[in-house]
């Protein structure tokens, strides 16, 4: 048998092999930072084989195309930044175990498989690999009850949603006799049936759980608050982007003939998600919880890209997730910086007068908060602008207006953090910051990218457009 047929899946194979190597290395290396560095080197190795990987493999079950490669780069950025912000943080939480990095790599592998899957079976496997690794990571601080609880809740809701996804897949299989996403469209021939509506609903519910669309978002605040902060950053970007990749592929390829049907569902969910995320975020006093609701709201915005559809909508969605990766992980990096021995640094109160005590940290947080709100000249503005432009172009101007209104509401709670930092006087002794070289590097990368994407976005936007083809 010809060995070149594995070429499209080569990045995944390399990733899997290196993740196994990292797992074994953990047994022999006592300095755990080294393993973190190795994980970053592994990403470099995988990126190196990606350019040669384009093509389709295993009878069209797996594809490496521009769409999947773009998402894979989002996952790599997510992994690298998450590793960088973890190194000091894990020491402070007294949970320095090398498995952490290999689990992150396995989760990333799962995401890569999801983005490349053109068969529902492969999609399911990638999803489970990602989800199972993330469940463990959410409960990684074993001695912390909140972390345990986060893992348990995430596990139950995740397992429930994948069972629902499986039932949806079964129904599609019953209707078409195939699980290939590309073949589904030709088998269905645009014939609408009750069972198909049910299958679409099941798929929407399952993906809704993964990307935290209201009303399937209930797990998000608790899990994001309880999980280690570095993992909250990791799973608010990676798994979400992976689920978006799968959602985009299944709905705009396999079920494209039924776009009017699923669009209606997604529009309703999108509006509800933006409402729930932005309005409930207002009353949060815990920063991690507030960012959890903010991440729910951002999922609501990104869905607009899928609703708008076409190359325009999808590339806007991809760009949005790309920008979101930087600004969200950046914000979490600042939260991590405030976490020192004895101080959780998660409450809004801890940000009181930060501009006086730690001006640089305050400026960075300011940039990320502005970007999350969508104020120019930050990346967040560009992301939202192209999303709403795509929505208007697809004839959903009213949806764009609704999204803008909710963005304005979101300014209230994002800028409240800024107000706490700049308008309030610091109370008591200022706590030291838990800075470290890797964390500084992560903050540098995220800040530069958020600003560059805001000021000069055209090369990055062109990249996404090119990826769609």
């Amino acid at each position: 048998m010809d060995i070149t047929i594995i070429k499209p899946i080569l990045p995944e194979i390399v990733m899997a092999a290196l993740a196994c190597v990292v797992l074994i290395l953990e047994l022999f290396i006592h300095k755990k930072e080294t393993i973190g560095v190795f994980a970053i080197l592994a990403v470099a190795a995988v990126s190196y084989v990606i350019p040669q990987s384009f093509g389709s493999a295993f009878n069209g079950m797996f594809i490496s195309d521009g769409y999947s490669v773009f998402f894979k780069f989002i996952f790599f950025i997510n992994l690298i930044l998450a590793v960088l912000i973890s190194i000091r943080y894990l020491k402070i939480e007294r949970s320095e175990f090398g498995e952490y990095y290999s689990l992150m790599m396995f989760a990333t592998l799962g995401m890569m498989i999801m983005a490349s899957a053109t068969d529902l079976i492969v999609l399911y496997l990638g999803l489970e690999l990602m989800a199972l690794s993330t469940y463990i990571l959410a409960g990684f601080i074993r001695h912390d009850r909140r972390s345990n609880e986060a893992a348990l809740k995430y596990f139950f809701l995740g397992a429930f949603s994948s069972a629902i996804l499986l039932y949806g897949i079964t129904m599609i299989y019953a209707l078409t006799g195939t699980t290939n996403i590309l073949a589904i469209a030709s088998q269905l021939q645009g014939k609408m049936t009750t069972q198909l509506i049910l299958a679409i609903v099941f798929l929407v519910v399952a993906f809704g759980f993964k990307i935290a669309l209201a009303p399937f978002h209930m797990w998000t605040p608790d899990v994001y608050e309880g999980a280690p902060t570095s993992i909250t950053a990791f799973m608010s970007v990676g798994p979400k982007a992976a689920a978006f990749a799968a959602l985009g592929r299944v709905f705009t390829t396999g079920l494209i003939d039924f776009a009017p049907d699923w669009r209606g569902i997604l529009i309703a969910l999108s509006i509800l998600t933006m409402a729930v995320g932005n309005i409930l975020a207002i009353q949060q006093s815990n920063i991690k919880r507030m960012l959890a609701y903010s991440s729910i709201a951002h999922a609501g915005y990104a869905v607009i890209g899928v609703i708008a559809g076409g190359a325009e909508g999808l590339s806007a969605m991809m760009n949005y997730l790309f920008i979101y990766a930087f600004m969200n992980i950046g914000a979490f990096a600042v939260v991590i910086m405030l976490r020192v021995e004895g101080v959780k640094g998660e409450e809004l109160e801890h940000y009181r007068g930060l501009a006086k005590t730690h001006p640089l940290a305050a400026v960075l947080m300011l940039i990320f908060m502005f970007s999350l709100t969508g104020i120019p000249p930050t990346g967040g503005f560009i992301g939202k602008f192209y999303l709403f432009k795509a929505a208007v172009g697809a004839g959903y101007a009213w949806l764009a207006v609704v999204a803008v209104v909710f963005s304005v509401i979101s300014a209230y709670f994002y800028l409240r953090v800024v107000m706490y930092m700049y308008m309030h006087e610091p109370e008591g002794e200022p706590a030291a910051l838990a800075t470290s070289t890797p964390l500084g590097l992560a903050l540098l990368i995220t800040t530069i990218m958020v600003i560059v994407l805001g000021v000069y976005p055209s090369p990055f936007l062109a990249f996404a457009r090119l990826a769609i083809g």
Partner: protein, 123 residues
């Protein structure tokens, strides 16, 4: 009319089921009617090979049991991939062999990890 589809070859199974239930219930019933009831303390005691039972029946099991059970479940179920592989092995040949070697090797990595973490040692 789903009933009409029921094939007659399932009839023996059905008869067997009825007979089995009737036999079990019948034995219990006959015993209950004819046996002499004369209970006393030693007779009602749980039977542990003639030795007096010690302690509560609901004891907390060592956490080790769960860890071994988890490892067993994972490694046991992975074996299901060997069945379809064995069925089509002669049709695919060397390629299948190499693939299964890789698969077993990945399992081995997990095994090595568990071993080194002393998941198999009992204190």
């Amino acid at each position: 009319m789903p009933g009409t589809y029921l094939p007659s070859n399932y009839l023996p199974v059905f008869i067997f089921l009825v007979v089995a239930i009737a036999f079990g219930l019948g034995a219990l019933l006959i015993g209950a009617i004819f046996r002499i009831r004369r209970p006393y303390k030693e007779k009602l005691m749980p039977y542990e090979s003639g030795i007096d039972p010690v302690g509560e029946p609901r004891v907390r099991f060592s956490i080790r049991f769960y860890i071994i059970a988890m490892l067993f479940v994972v490694f046991d179920v992975e074996a299901i991939f060997l069945y379809p592989w064995a069925v089509v092995f002669d049709k695919i040949g060397l390629y299948a062999f190499v693939e299964m070697v890789i698969f077993i090797f990945i399992l081995l990595v997990g095994y090595l990890y568990a071993w080194k973490k002393e998941a198999f040692t009992w204190e």
